[in-house]
Amino acid sequence: MPDIETDSSEESVPFYPDHVGKEAKVVIGFTGLVLLIGLAGIFFSVGLGEPADPLNTPAHVKPEWYFLALYQLLKYISKTAGAVLPVIAVIVLTIWPFIDRKPDQSSKNYKRRAILVAITMLVLIIMTIWGEVS
């Protein structure tokens, strides 16, 4: 199996206490952030709309922001395709390690994948913003 061996001591730090201490700082920072959000919650509110009414469809129905890109896509393609596409995407992403099996030779592979990710994320973000404003 490739690169499973432990690194030599110059290139690594002990898990405890060095690494745990560093992680503790991150945890304390994020705990502070969470408490700040809680503090903001005293002045502002997440908000609660009108009570649900199954007989009255509001004019603008929107899902959560992380489904907005898919929702926007659904307006322009058929419903069946819109339901099948994400399922296929998820399946392909899940088995991706078994599709892309060639070990990386150089950091050029990083760059290629970074460009792929950047394009995909850009498309998704544009779709999300488009779904938000439309």
């Binding site: 898990f15 405890y16 206490p17 503790a24 991150v26 502070g32 659904l74 339901a83």
Partner: protein, 347 residues
């Protein structure tokens, strides 16, 4: 390998946590105290009407916070005054007994510990050992956990893994814990039926102590969890860390992302307002248009053909029971695999 215990870490973490908590409670208490309208000011005649006071005591007024000591603000006798004042935060003396117990309790414990330590040294005629070492030795002599624990703790972490983009996954796990804690707090007050869901959220927002804070944290930590999850996956994808031997790390991570999105989907319905109701209708409609299994998926998600009371109940059960258990299982597997194989070395 000996475990080096750095006391400064523990003291730093504890003091920072305590300071943050004290500041949080002090500030919020002040804000709440100032926000409460002063409606119980003594008014009218300066002389005490003793027959009225006797009447009040006969009604049980001494069970109610002193600030509401007037016949006009008395709650009806069938309402439990204690529940009322504790939940709404009208009882300003809520922290006093707690502080008293902590102060005198600590002093008492120090006193008892001093007596025990002196008498123990005097009786046994052996030097005193710190309590922490005694405890670890006591446990270790029975369960022998010191060796496996030190192998676990002393496993080296490569230096490249201390860059900030390696902590995105850890932050996701941290936010999951935050979600667990605040979710339990919300579940104490939430009622999953169409008649009561909306009003119970209103109750949380307006009546429960720090209720709006807890809901705000739950809301934003949920969004943060999805963002951190995606960030972590992008990092792993770009660096090719999913390749041999880490294929199943990626697969379990993918399942964890789906579970997180499932949390978002099921949790969004629970407030039972118009936005929640129609967003869920749209989302389940998408699932319903999958060929072959679409109708089955739709009926499974909605428990019927419409989003109704049964849907709310099912989403609630999924949100607080099924998804957390599944997430905990996959998270455990994910961490164990990362631990076993190690972090991928960048080129």
């Amino acid at each position: 390998m000996k475990i080096t215990f750095r006391r400064s870490y523990l003291i730093f973490i504890l003091s920072a946590l305590i300071t943050l908590l004290v500041i949080f409670f002090a500030v919020t208490d002040q804000i709440q105290a100032r926000a409460t309208p002063k409606e119980n000011k003594p008014s009218g005649s300066p002389s005490t009407n003793w027959s009225q006071v006797n009447d009040l005591f006969a009604k049980g007024a001494h069970m109610i916070a002193p600030s509401s000591f007037s016949a006009a603000t008395l709650p009806p006798p069938e309402q439990d005054p204690c529940l009322h004042c504790h939940i709404t935060g009208e009882d300003k003396g809520l922290w006093t007994p707690l502080v008293r117990w902590i102060f005198f309790g600590t002093a008492g414990l120090i006193f008892v510990f001093g007596i025990y330590r002196s008498s123990s040294v005097w009786v046994n005629r052996v030097p005193w050992k710190p309590l922490t070492r005694r405890t670890t030795e006591w446990v270790d002599s029975r369960y022998e956990i010191s060796d496996p624990l030190s192998t676990f703790l002393s496993k080296p972490v490569p230096k490249f893994a201390q860059r900030w983009w390696y902590c995105l996954g850890g932050i996701t796990a941290f936010l999951f814990i935050v979600q667990g804690i605040t979710g339990i707090m919300l579940a104490f007050y939430y009622k999953p039926t169409p008649e009561t869901a909306y009003s119970s959220i209103q109750f949380i927002e307006t009546q429960v102590r720090f209720g709006s804070s807890i809901r705000m944290i739950h809301h934003w930590a949920a969004n943060g969890m999805i963002i951190m999850c995606i960030g972590h996956m992008l990092r792993v994808f770009i660096m090719g860390a999913y390749k041999n031997p880490r294929e199943f790390n990626w697969v379990s991570g993918m399942l964890l992302l789906l579970l997180t999105l499932g949390f978002g989907l099921t949790g969004y319905l629970l407030p039972w307002d118009q936005r929640a109701y129609w967003a869920t209708t749209v989302a389940t409609e998408i699932a319903g248009s999958i060929p072959v299994i679409g109708d089955l998926a739709l009926v499974f998600a909605r428990v019927g053909w419409d989003v109704a009371a049964q849907t709310l109940n099912r989403f609630y059960a999924l949100h607080i029971l099924v998804l957390p258990i599944a997430t905990l299982g996959f998270m455990g597997a994910h961490f164990l695999m990362v631990r076993r194989v190690g972090i991928a070395k960048p080129l």
